[in-house]
Each structure stands twice: as structure tokens, then as C-alpha cells.
């Protein structure tokens, strides 16, 4: 099935998610006001003509902050997640192709990385960062640090999968049919790896959004008044009185991830394309 407008409209949820993503990317054009502008006469106000989703407890427009916050967090968390899976895929693949001793060493190192107290590293990072560092710099450093820390899990998954595929029935069958072993391995294994990496990507994106919320306590992450999903989550947790509008970031995030899961069901299509590319 080709990726056409017709196929997209056949899945309205995915279409809606795509539109939302476009809106988020165009936040600067769509937001009715600056995300940090405080309307001090409209604190925690409800929906109105001037404020489509009302205002927060500092009188800031929720709709603007949601657009900018989603844009920042999704882009940054996606970039960090991409870094994680690229690193994980590279290390995991290298480990699977290496001699068993080296494979064990790499997997051991991944265990070590998982067990290290990264919180203290991040505290040191915060201490080293000047207080006057621009918000963008703090944000980049935070998400790069997160991206670099997360590689062990995808690396292990990729390595374990590739090692198991070496002597899988599918590969043996392909070899028996006359295909050379490396090509057979590639055809069978890579499709599975794409699925694993896509699933991991969809797991890491929200995980990094939540991690950014926690890192805000250290002064890392995306600093106020720049909105972020993490910051909005933190405010939601800290606030004792919550209206349903306060939960909007959660609704949008859940919606986008659900749509992403639907998209991942198309990964079989992508896998097939990838396998054919590598096989030819």
C-alpha cells in the first residue's frame, strides 16, 4: 500500500496527529502571544476568546505555552532518543559481530553504565554550567547527556536479537535455498532491528520528557519561562488544584504517542522495504 493522502485519511487519528505536529512546528506562527507574557489580570482563567485554553497560574496563555512546549520537548526528546538508538544500534551491532569475548565485554560495560549513579554526574554538570548559560545551551547539554546515557538498553536488545538471528531457522532456510549467509542474515535480521529501534524510540521520547521534568530540580533541562513538557508536568505535580485544562499536555502527549504506535504498525512495511534494499 503506497503512502498516499488516501491511505492517511483512512486512518484519521494519524492524520490528526500529523496536523498537530505541523501546528507544533509552526508554533511561532500559530501562538496568539508570547509564551512568557503574563496577563496578570487573568490568573488561572478559563477558556476565552483571548486565551483558547485559558491561562496558567501566572496568567500565561496555555495554548501558546502548549505549542511551544511541545515543540521544544518533542524535538529535543526526539533528538536525544535518536542519539540513544543510533549509539545503541551501533554498539549493539558491533558487539553482535565481534568475537564472543568482546561481545561479553561490551555487554558488561552496558551493565556498568546502567548501574552508574548518573544523578551525581548531572549534579556535577549543573555545577560546571554557568548560571548565565543561555536556556538553549542548558537544554542542548541536558538532552545530549540524556541521549548519551540511554544507549545500553537498545544496545543489549539489538545485540541479543542479532546474535539469536545468526542461527535462526529463517537464515538457515535462506542459505539452504542458495543465498549466501551474510545476505541471508541481513535480509532477516535488519527488519527486526528496525522494529526494535522504532519501538525503543517511541519509549525513549516520553521517558526523556519525564526525565527533563526531574532534571529541572537540578536547574538543568529547559529553564523557565521557556515552556517544556517537563516543566508543565512538574507544575501539574506541584499544584494541588488542577483543572482539566492543566492536564492538556498529558492528553496531547498520549494522543501523539498513540498515533506513533499506529505509525509503528507500518514498520513492517518499512522493514520489508529495508530488507529488499539490503538484499538487492
Amino acid at each position: 500500500m503506497a503512502l498516499t493522502l488516501r491511505s492517511l485519511t483512512a486512518k484519521p487519528i494519524v492524520l490528526l496527529a500529523a496536523l498537530l505536529l505541523v501546528a507544533i512546528v509552526c508554533a511561532g506562527l500559530l501562538a496568539p502571544c508570547r509564551y512568557d507574557a503574563q496577563d496578570r489580570d487573568a490568573i488561572s482563567a478559563g477558556v476565552s476568546r483571548g486565551h483558547l485554553l485559558g491561562t496558567d497560574d501566572l496568567g500565561r496563555d496555555r495554548f501558546s505555552r502548549l505549542l511551544f512546549g511541545l515543540r521544544t520537548s518533542l524535538l529535543a526528546a526526539s533528538a536525544a532518543a535518536a542519539l540513544t538508538i543510533i549509539l545503541g544500534a551501533a554498539i549493539g551491532t558491533a558487539a553482535s559481530l565481534a568475537p564472543p569475548l568482546l561481545t561479553g565485554a561490551v555487554l558488561g560495560m552496558s551493565d556498568l553504565v546502567l548501574s552508574l549513579p548518573w544523578f551525581f554526574l548531572l549534579v556535577i554538570l549543573r555545577a560546571a554550567l554557568p548560571l548565565s548559560a543561555p536556556p538553549a545551551e542548558s537544554m542542548v547539554l541536558t538532552f545530549v547527556a540524556l541521549g548519551l546515557i540511554g544507549w545500553p538498553i537498545p544496545a543489549r536488545l539489538v545485540c541479543d536479537f542479532l546474535v539469536s538471528q545468526r542461527s535462526s531457522r529463517a537464515v538457515r532456510y535462506a542459505v539452504a535455498c542458495g543465498m549466501d549467509e551474510p545476505r541471508a542474515f541481513r535480509s532477516v535480521a535488519l527488519g527486526g532491528v528496525f522494529s526494535i529501534l522504532l519501538a525503543q524510540f517511541l519509549v525513549f521520547v516520553p521517558a526523556y520528557v519525564v526525565a527533563e521534568a526531574n532534571l529541572g530540580i537540578l536547574g538543568l533541562g529547559i529553564t523557565e519561562p521557556m515552556p517544556s513538557m517537563g516543566g508543565m508536568l512538574r507544575s501539574l505535580v506541584a499544584s494541588s488544584s488542577r483543572s482539566f485544562l492543566d492536564w492538556m499536555p498529558i492528553y496531547v502527549m498520549v494522543f501523539l504517542l498513540s498515533a506513533g504506535q499506529l505509525g509503528s504498525m507500518w514498520s513492517k512495511r518499512w522493514n520489508a522495504i529495508a530488507c529488499r534494499s539490503f538484499s538487492s
Partner: protein, 505 residues
């Protein structure tokens, strides 16, 4: 009511965490009490007292016929024993710190119904110190023995609850007419949200300290239970780092050292908005070092702070700053920008910082708000001095300015804007040092008040601390409790526990 942690100790001499202090307060009998509502001293186990030799000694005349909870008689030997134990270095009592201005063991003289305690040096505010000294029985085998307070510990389930029972030997109950509740259950509840839910369900009768958001929730659910006792002793403020040890650029240090700069920043901050938005109306703009909640020590002659961004800009212009295209620069062309740090997790302070950020943007100053975990914040404030401005607050439990000596004395580590000065960096700090030392040596409260009024005046003028708000004392008392008299000073809701009446008892 809830305790947010289990008491670390039941030894009254060692009680320094909140939970232990609650148990000490409810079970301990003291010589001199402090009426938290009137903010005056009251006779307790001592019917009268005399300050001698300018605060070097104090003589108590003890109440007759008082007994411990086990029926044993109370007498001068118990007071002597308590003081010796309290000031014994091996006990490591935090309460004894207030007596450390007179090192060594005091000389104790007792007669039939008097005790005289003579210290090695005069101590200012001596009588008030005895409000925290729970008298122990000299016959008891341990410090957790019989008590003289309104309640006695009946049951202790660590991590769960403590049950206190009415002490029929308590002198107020024997002399009448106070009766007090039969029991007090102190439930260990760390989570304040759960504490609030339990209060609203009726499981708890008191919440001593409520934040503004939760206060409004209680007000909506049970209006009569929400108590706003007015301005507390606490204040929130901002200050600029003036320490010579700080690694900030010299031109920034020059801004922060300028009185005009600090005054202009102060004038550009809209405190009314801060009260309304960050504290939901449950605070008032702060004008000086002492809250109006401190009845005796507050200097009512100080002028109120007014918000005036235009006046702030004019003041900055007069002092070499330039405002063009919405950006403020100093005489050297440096754009005026700095960061404000505050502790993460304190919602009110985070909001205050963001409000200040917007207020200062209107006068061309770019502010970056950085919230840090408390240890990192303290590290920057007290060791590396690597920060530009900070928002924090004082939680004051003492009315007497002696409790703030370590803030105002320029050589002190807690002299936040420029700590541990070898000699005062400015003439006004030298004057404050002198005034604080003189008021600590004076005995006459009127003289001390006059001297400390002058300190408040200097601080209001120089603004090393830009005082922002005085929070209100917010608490919750269920309708099952009759005769509450909520106060502004800890323990706000149960300072008069001996006379609270509980419905159905």
C-alpha cells in the same frame, strides 16, 4: 494531627527536629511560657522571676504543689538537674545553643521554692530562652521519664503514630478551670496532600502550617476550618551577591554594591501582584527586616514600599545607567542582566522569581531564573559564592532579634550578601554591627527596641535584602475543636493545647 516524620528523639533536651519538638512542647513543662497570641511571657512552673546583674543571672520563684505525671513532687532540685544536663556538652543539646553566649556550667543556687541560675556572662532575652527548656525529674532513671506538661506519652508506634494522654497532674488542670482534650493522636504522615485529604475527611483535626493553594481548598470545602491568622514572622526576600570572593565580573559586583541599583530594582518589583498571584492574597508586601506579625519588634515608622517602574528607571539613569530599545546598560556599555537562583520545589518562590523576571524586563533588565536543589544552592551561597542574586526566606520562630544576630553581624557566615567580612565593608554595615552588639548588651527592652529600630531603618534604606513579602500564618482547625486561638508563631494551632476543647469529650 499529623507529624511529617517520626520524632528522632523523645529526650526533650535533644529535640531539634519538628516532630520531636511537637512532642516536647505537648509533654514538657517549662518555667516561663510564651503566649503565642499576645506574644508575651507568662508564668508557668515559675510564678515569678527576676533578671539580675544585667542578664547575668535569673532567679525563679517556683509554683507550689506541682507534681510530675507519676505523682512525684516538683522542686528546685529538678530545675537544677535539668540545667546541668542541658548544658552538659555530652548531651549535645540544640536547645542549649541559646545559652552558649555564656560558656561553661552556670552556678545554681536553690532554696525551698527558689532557684537562682548565674551564668558566666550576661545573656540577652534570658527569660524567653526558658520557654524551650522542659523540666526533667531529677529522680527519673531516663530523660524520657515523668513529665510536667499537659500530656503524657501513652503509646508510641514508630512510623505509625504516637498517642498522648491528658496528664491529670498538670498544674493548670489541678488549679482549673482548663481541662483540655483527653488524648492527642500524632499520626506520622509524610505526604502533605494525604494530610490534607485526611483533614477534609475528618481523620485529622489540625494542620499547623498550610500553603496558600491548600488553604484555598480548605476554604472552599470547609470555610470555618480555614484560619488566616495574619502576617507570620516569616519573610521572603532577594539579595545580590556582594562578596569579594565571588567569581562574577567586577562590573556586576559594582551594580550590586550600588545602593541606587538595589533601590531601583526594589522599586520596580510589583509586590502587590506577588501577594495576589504567588500567595493567592495570603501574604502582604514586606517593607523591612521584621514582619508586622512581630508585635513588639516591628518598626511601624518605616515607609511602605511602592511599585513605580518609571521612578526606578529615573533612579538608574541618575546613576549612570542607560535605557535604550528596552535594554538597560551600565556606564561601561555592559547590558544589565543577571540570574536569580532559588530552591527548586518551592512553588511560591519560583513564581516570585518569574514575576520579578517580568517586572525587571520592563526596566530593561534581563533576568534568568535558575531553580536548584537545596544542597547545590547552599554550596553556591556559602562556599563557591558563584551566583548573582538569590531568593530565599527566613522561617522565624523567635521574635527576639538575638535570633538574627548571625545574619546582621558582618563577620558572620550567615551575613548572606557578603559573609565573613574581616572588617565591615561599608560604613552602614559597621553601624549595624555596632547597633546589634549594643542591643545584645542592653537589658531594658525599650533601649533594645530603639537600637533595633535603627537597624531596621538602615536595612530598609540600603536594601541589602530586598524584602518581598511577609507570608500569612495559614492553618486549619476542624469544627470539632472548640476554643482555638490560632497564632502567628509556631505552634500556631496548638500552642494552647491545654485549653482546647474537643466535641464529644
Amino acid at each position: 494531627m499529623a507529624l511529617h516524620s517520626s520524632p528522632r528523639t523523645l529526650d526533650p533536651a535533644r529535640a531539634d527536629d519538628d516532630a520531636s519538638s511537637v512532642v516536647r512542647y505537648l509533654t514538657g513543662g517549662v518555667l516561663i511560657g510564651f503566649n503565642r497570641q499576645a506574644q508575651t511571657l507568662t508564668p508557668e512552673l515559675a510564678v515569678s522571676w527576676q533578671i539580675l546583674e544585667g542578664g547575668r543571672a535569673i532567679r525563679f520563684r517556683l509554683r507550689k504543689g506541682v507534681k510530675f505525671s507519676d505523682g512525684s513532687p516538683f522542686g528546685p532540685e529538678d530545675v537544677a538537674y535539668t540545667m546541668r544536663r542541658l548544658l552538659d556538652p555530652s548531651v549535645e543539646s540544640a536547645i542549649a545553643d541559646q545559652f552558649r553566649g555564656a560558656p561553661g556550667m552556670p552556678v545554681l543556687r536553690t532554696s525551698a521554692d527558689t532557684v537562682e541560675i548565674r551564668f558566666s556572662a550576661p545573656l540577652t532575652g534570658l527569660e524567653k530562652m526558658f520557654d524551650e527548656v522542659s523540666i526533667l525529674s531529677s529522680q527519673a532513671k531516663s530523660a524520657e521519664g515523668p513529665v510536667l506538661g499537659p500530656f503524657v506519652l501513652k503509646e508510641n508506634r514508630p512510623g505509625d503514630y504516637l498517642l498522648l494522654q491528658r496528664n491529670p497532674s498538670y498544674w493548670r488542670y489541678r488549679e482549673g478551670p482548663a481541662r483540655g482534650p483527653d488524648t492527642v493522636r500524632l499520626v506520622i504522615q509524610k505526604d502533605r496532600e494525604v494530610e490534607l485529604s485526611r483533614f477534609l475527611k475528618g481523620d485529622l483535626d489540625l494542620i499547623n502550617n498550610v500553603d496558600p493553594e491548600n488553604y484555598d481548598r480548605i476554604l472552599r470545602a470547609q470555610a470555618k476550618s480555614a484560619i488566616d491568622a495574619g502576617p507570620s514572622l516569616d519573610s521572603d526576600f532577594m539579595w545580590f551577591n556582594q562578596s569579594a570572593k565571588s567569581p562574577i565580573p567586577a562590573y556586576e559586583r559594582e551594580w550590586f554594591a550600588s545602593k541606587a541599583f538595589r533601590n531601583a530594582v526594589s522599586e520596580a518589583i510589583n509586590r502587590d501582584d506577588m501577594v495576589r498571584i504567588a500567595f493567592l492574597g495570603h501574604a502582604q508586601p514586606a517593607g523591612g527586616a521584621v514582619s508586622p506579625g512581630n508585635k513588639f519588634w516591628f518598626n511601624s515608622a518605616l515607609p511602605a514600599r511602592h511599585y513605580d517602574a518609571q521612578a526606578a528607571i529615573a533612579l538608574l539613569r541618575q546613576n549612570g545607567f542607560h535605557l535604550a530599545d528596552g535594554k538597560l546598560t551600565d556606564s561601561g556599555g555592559h547590558p544589565v542582566r543577571f540570574s536569580i537562583i532559588t530552591n527548586a520545589g518551592n512553588k511560591s518562590r519560583e513564581k516570585m522569581a518569574l514575576l520579578i523576571q517580568q517586572d525587571l524586563l520592563k526596566i530593561g533588565i534581563e533576568v534568568k531564573v535558575v531553580t536548584l536543589d537545596f544542597p547545590s544552592l547552599l554550596e553556591r551561597m556559602t562556599r563557591s559564592y558563584d551566583y548573582e542574586a538569590c531568593i530565599l526566606g527566613f522561617t522565624n520562630v523567635e521574635v527576639d532579634p538575638m535570633a538574627q544576630m548571625n545574619v546582621w553581624i558582618s563577620s558572620s557566615a550567615n551575613h548572606a550578601w557578603n559573609p565573613e567580612q574581616k572588617s565591615p565593608a561599608t560604613t552602614w554595615e559597621a553601624e549595624v554591627d555596632d547597633l546589634m552588639h549594643r542591643q545584645s548588651a542592653a537589658v531594658d527592652p525599650a533601649v533594645r527596641k530603639r537600637l533595633f529600630d535603627r537597624v531596621q531603618q538602615i536595612v530598609a534604606d540600603q536594601e541589602p535584602f530586598i524584602y518581598l513579602v511577609n507570608k500569612h500564618s495559614l492553618s486549619a482547625v476542624s469544627s470539632a475543636i472548640h476554643n482555638p486561638k490560632p497564632a502567628r508563631i509556631w505552634p500556631q494551632t496548638f500552642w494552647n493545647a491545654w485549653e482546647l476543647q474537643v466535641a464529644g469529650q
